[in-house]
Every structure is written in C-alpha cells, then in structure tokens.
C-alpha cells in the first residue's frame, strides 16, 4: 500500500511525560456528520454512506465501516433555531451500521444544522 506508516506504542514528551498511543487510537472519532435536514443536504461527513431521512426531525446516519458492536458512544449537537429554544436529542434503533437521530426543539423539527460524532470500536 502507498500510505506511509509510523508505528509506535508510546509518544513521549521531553518533560511532560508520555502517552500510550492506544489512547489516541481508541479515543479518535469513528464517524461524523453535519446535516441540514431542512434541505436534506449532507454538508460534511466521515465514514457515512448515506443519511436516511425518516420523518420530521428524525434521520438515520448509515456507516461505511460498521462498528463492532452496539456499545458505542454518540455525541450529538444541533443549532436551535429559536432563541431560548429547548433542544433535545434522542438516540433510537441502535445498530452496528446505523442509529436513529431525533431532534426535538419545541416539537419535532427539521434543523438546518444538526451534527453527531461517534466513538467506539470498529468492525
């Protein structure tokens, strides 16, 4: 393969100590998406094959490289469109290749800027 590689188990700073590289590997995000549900446009992503628009406020990001199990972590964020609106995220239907995202902002809402990051072990 044409990619360069550096293999190391530890990174060590001259004075600040060392870090096991497994923390870097295991702590890196595995998937991300930045989606405008109002226009069904994926604005930025990584390790996403598609997003299934399910209904108002609800969608499924689908992974290209699935996770090894359903025991992964999702960090969700969205930009509320009304001042002082209450934004709530629900995660449903967790599978190794997808999960359901549900945005609630004074009712189910298609948000212009909704995003998520996923951490865990890859298949």
């Amino acid at each position: 393969m044409a990619l360069g590689k550096i293999k190391a188990d530890t990174l060590e700073h001259s004075t600040a100590g060392s870090l096991d590289t497994q923390f870097v590997v295991n702590g890196s995000a595995r998937q991300k998406h930045y989606y405008n549900q109002a226009t069904t446009t994926i604005k930025d992503s990584f390790n996403v094959s598609s997003i299934t628009d399910v209904s108002t406020g609800s969608y499924d990001p689908q992974a290209t490289n699935s996770m090894s199990s359903v025991n992964y972590n999702v960090v969700a964020h969205a930009q509320a469109q009304d001042t002082n609106a209450t934004f709530t995220y629900y995660g449903l239907n967790r599978a190794t290749g997808s999960y359901r995202r549900y945005n609630y902002d004074n009712g189910s809402k298609d948000l212009n800027a909704t995003d998520g990051i996923l951490f865990g072990d890859l298949a």
Partner: protein, 157 residues
C-alpha cells in the same frame, strides 16, 4: 489519481485516504421508499464522500459483505462482529457510475424486504428520483407517501 492497492487495508484507513485525496460528489439522486405502511416515506440521501469513493473505485467492499454482517447481527445471540475482516480483506469493487452507486447504496442501506420486491404489490415501494422532484416544502413531511398513481410499467418504459 490512481487508487492505491487497498485489498487487506482496513476500510477506515481507506476512507481516511479518500477524505484527503478525493473531492466530495453531491448527488442529485434520492431514493424514496416505504418500509412500513403506517409510516411516512423515507428518503435516502447519498453521502458526498461515499459517492466519491464509489466513483473512484478500489475503495469500497462488495455490497454482499454488508449482507453477511447484517446476517450475523440478526442472530439472537449477537454481541459483536467477528467477521469484520470481510470489510477489509475482500477485494474492493471497481469504479461505478453514479447510477450504479445508487443501486449499490439501495442494497446496502435500504431494508432488503423493500428493494428485493420493490415492484410487487399494488404500488411501488421504492422510487429513485431527483432531489428537485421531492416536495418543495417539508411542512407535511410526516404525511409523505409514494403516489398511488405511480405505475411500475411506466417506470420501466
């Protein structure tokens, strides 16, 4: 740009290479499907980075690999994938056209019971369309259905 020889390389590493070297491709295609008569139609939106990988070739595994993983996950005693190596070690698929990529995506991300018999029944359960053919406003999004007047015969013509 030529794709490196990726068979045996972790799929995630291939996606890293693609993100760095390929420009995203925004597809105008959308796949509308109904997998439950009590729910509104779902819309599959292709990812631009994934589409770039599909058009480039040599990056994505055959879609059958995802079916195998789905079979494993459907087992009642499933805990974690033990055949993830299929994603990384199976020979990647060659470059696809945009239309072939959409077909691949349907078979990967739509439920099999939808696309395997999409044209059986009183009306099609799935339609491939352009983004501009979707309703212009999402005000009634939860009521969207594939029209009863859509003819499978017309689609094939």
């Amino acid at each position: 740009m030529n794709t490196p020889q990726f068979q045996g390389t972790h799929l995630f590493d291939r996606l890293c290479w693609a993100k760095e070297n390929l420009d995203g491709v925004q597809s105008d295609y959308r796949v509308v499907y109904e997998d439950n008569i009590d729910e509104c139609a779902k819309i599959l939106v292709p990812d631009p980075n994934w589409m770039a990988c599909a058009l480039q070739g040599g990056i994505l595994p055959p879609v059958q690999v995802y079916w195998e993983l789905a079979k494993d996950e459907a087992q009642p005693d499933f805990v974690k994938h033990t055949r993830g190596h299929l994603l990384h070690n199976t020979k990647p698929v060659e470059a696809m056209t945009e239309e072939q990529a959409i077909e691949y995506l349907i078979m990967k991300d739509c439920p099999q019971h939808v696309w395997r018999n999409w044209d059986e029944g009183n009306k099609p359960k799935m339609v491939i369309c352009r983004k501009e053919q979707l309703p212009g406003t999402r005000e009634w999004r939860n009521a969207w259905k594939i029209t009863e007047e859509l003819s499978v015969t017309d689609l094939a013509a």
